[in-house]
Amino acid sequence: MKKLLLTLTLLLGLSATAALAQDAAAAPPGPTATEISTSAARAAAAAEVAGGVAEDDQKAPAYLELLESQGEYGYAFDFFAVSMLWTVIAAALVFIMHLGFATLEAGLTQAKNTVNILFKNVFIICMGLLTYALWGFVSHYPGDGWLIEGFFAFGKPIGDLNADGGDTFGYGGLALAMTGFGDFIFQAMFAATAATIVSGAVAERVKLAPFLIFSTLLVGIAYPWVGSWHWGGGWMGSLNGGNGFKDFAGSAVVHAFGGFAALGCVLLLGPRHGKYVGGKIRPIPGHNMPLATIGVFLLFLGWFGFNGGSVLSAAPGPLGLVVTTTALAAAAGGLSAAIVSWMFLKKPDLSMALNGILAGLVGITANADIVSPAGSIIIGLIAGIIVFFSVLFFDKIKIDDPVGAISVHGVCGVWGILAAALFDTTDSGYTVFGQLIGVVAVGAAALVFSLVVFGIIKVVTGIRVSEDEEAEGLDIGEHGQEAYHGLFATAER
């Protein structure tokens, strides 16, 4: 374990140094061509998003034409500036989702594993940002740098993404109204999300170092690889009869990806000791519901940026629609999960209502820009019901997922993708079948990646802590650190 870790460190150090060298060589003489070209593929990806915008905006083509006709983009600078600002703020909002995940996962697990959960989440956001800078971004958006056309591209460190001046639509055009750095930071915040989803599902029993290595590979390599199929302009553009796969902000390429990766890990890992005893389910209640609630509210907040920022500009029409549908779906999901739990369990279950909000949010993520408010409410209501039965189902088949990540992100991610075809108000030609192909491809890739990579790690180093350590808690076992110190700690020193 230690060796793998040190290797990792070394590799990281080397890449950073390499990046610096490259950077040092490239920067001074004068602005060279931007590393991330605004390639055809990128433009195509952007155009897909613009599609949604344009359809809503039929009244304003005059203005848009005006902007495009200006050789210098002079007057348009302000729209560009406001869009770029929104991108940065949206990145900050997505960032805070990582705190949301950390507190939600900590709240829904036992006190004795809290330091471990928190450490994993701190690690993932840190490592996620770095690997995305050193490899992921370029691999995610390969432009015309594919190794296997539309399917896989190598990554490399980002360079000076302001090389084009950083102040015009030159980087991404009207539909990607941001600078290269804006694009990078927003996407980088997304990247770490997928690995964080897994972290909740494997909580309370996974060995730390193997998981860190796995999650580094997941966030660093697998996420941008699979993501390139859709957002990078890859093969998914030919789905739905050429209309392209519809996954607005990532129900599939972020959430289902994370959820199915989690499923693979849980299959290899097995349930927590004592969860299923003699055919009976014995719930292991989370230790801190206020923490879990803080987590869900922060995730809801962050989703304003996750979906809202995915408009990729500050275009007022789509922006207003997207935040409205997002909020309504979340509300509907929370309410329906609460009501269903009340009807089936006799009492209203806070932990379910919280999962319901997230279910609604994941469900609307694929389609927030193409559904009506009423559609978003129905998508959310159904997502809340789905998550309730899904959680029960996975418990029944003894897939132990302490925070419900597989149900919330995996199952509801699929629902969101299908809902894009079912509730589309823009007649864009998305079909249930086409959507299904896309999400199955993403889910299968995530599942297989997990089974193979985590499987190899399992054979090489093991992936599960000892039964004793699980009983005592991973905080002491893995970290030698406890999350809470009361009167006693004070007394003892």
């Binding site: 369990l345 279950d349 379910m352």
Partner: protein
């Protein structure tokens, strides 16, 4: 000397304390405990599954006192802690051979 240990319902502490004060007992030590007994636990729900919680929150009040005060003290506790509903708790009396007040090193009944 005797030690009186009373397991009571948490919200009865204040009344028990006052009842003990009234019979002249001015020292006691209280611990948060969980009790299991005839009072059946309740069902709880968590993320869609039910489970039974058998252990209920109680408080344990410990009083060490002179032999001749035991009866009054036990009586006071029982009176104050009773609601008549199941789960009211128990009082146990056991022998104590020695007591020392740390501050003064007084021993025996003078110490309690």
């Amino acid at each position: 000397m005797k030690k009186i240990e009373a397991i009571i319902k948490p919200f009865k502490l204040e009344e028990v304390k006052e009842a003990l004060n009234e019979v002249g007992i001015e020292g006691m030590t209280v611990t948060e405990v969980k009790g299991f007994g005839r009072q059946k636990g309740h069902t709880e729900i968590y993320r869609g599954s039910e489970y039974t919680v058998d252990f209920l929150p109680k408080l344990k009040v410990e009083v060490v006192t002179a032999d001749n005060q035991v009866e009054a003290a036990v009586g006071a506790i029982v009176k104050a802690a009773k609601t008549g509903k199941i789960g009211d708790g128990k009082v146990f009396v056991s022998p104590v051979e020695e007591a020392v007040r740390i501050r003064t090193e007084e021993k025996g009944e003078a110490a309690v």
